[in-house]
Symmetry: C2
Subunit: 233 residues, 2 copies
Amino acid sequence: MVNAQHAHTEQHLTSSAMLQDIVIGLSDGLTVPFALAAGLSGAVQSSALVITAGLAEVVAGSIAMGLGGYLAGRTEIEHYASELAREHREVRDIPEAERAEVDELLADMGLSPATRAAAVRELTADPEQWVQFMMKYELGLEEPDPKQAPKSAATISLAYALGGLVPLSAYFFTSTPAEGLGWSAVITLLCLLVFGYLKSRMTGQPPVWGALKMATTGALAAAAAFLVARQFS
Amino acid sequence: MVNAQHAHTEQHLTSSAMLQDIVIGLSDGLTVPFALAAGLSGAVQSSALVITAGLAEVVAGSIAMGLGGYLAGRTEIEHYASELAREHREVRDIPEAERAEVDELLADMGLSPATRAAAVRELTADPEQWVQFMMKYELGLEEPDPKQAPKSAATISLAYALGGLVPLSAYFFTSTPAEGLGWSAVITLLCLLVFGYLKSRMTGQPPVWGALKMATTGALAAAAAFLVARQFS
């Protein structure tokens, strides 16, 4: 969910990709483990059990997000490489069809036939530049940085785990799940407000509204998990 | 994670956005609830408890993904609208600077100064077309469909919930968590293989490799959750 936006905002922001990954991991890590622990708090009598389930979720989610993200990053690299190879092939084997595609793109931009004729000639003069043009403007693909996928995966994974420990920490220091839930809700919603605020600031959105959105998502997920778990316990 | 790719592949594929959303929700829903249930199976003696925790996770994850996705979609729409307003303002107030930006973009594409002069004149003749050009080629933004965000959120959320019921179903029909885990692993890994295969087919990647990647992610997340939960129980 967050990533489509991630891609957009990167073009506009000075904040590093790493900071974005930290916020993504933290906000997701705060939400789901919080809701799971809240749900179990309404269904079981043992804080130890809430902690065990919470930690299992944190580990599972952290690996799923991290490894899933890493593999998606690798796929993006392979996808780019295979599209690049295809464009090279097409420029070599069916240059007339590719030239027509360039012309069509330029027509979509709003250029006149005369200007297009000159532009097509210049853009297709060098095969390398031609392929780059097709990749960027026909397919909308930017070359992915191969070092970004593992770094991003590790950051998101770690941030998710750290985020998940925030709601669970309350259960370490309290004696009953009900008491744990109270403190867990206070510190987690506070963190969600802060992160929602910071995230919206980073993406240039109204920060107070962003803070409320993130806290509301967490609260609704927790309330629903609580009701369902109580139903089934 | 999945969404950056989602955006790319949409341009190339005939498969509907809905099918993609189903696969996203199902594959995530299969992974994390499976791993959580597996983790708890090594830590508790009661299948009912595994089911309660699993359902709480499914509800929490489903709402977090669905609502989070919906709100991210709304943010994208607002982001597009605010950038559109800014470009309109800039084209009106600082046309010379904006004209220089168009020229720079065309230079990046590889056009000669003479062709650029003609192209800049044509692209900036109509303010509406000029703004559309800046949105698409300077900012790389496509106008989001306002109906897509709620539809996509509902689909992902429902698919996540359905995916999550697959690993949990095994615990309904078995008497101990250990037995449940065995069947849960069999049916879930089978489903992950099938969905990994289909997802890779849809995105034009090698399908067998995609099937293995998805099953491996699920298996690793489950194994890690199992080890951690046992440590803390």
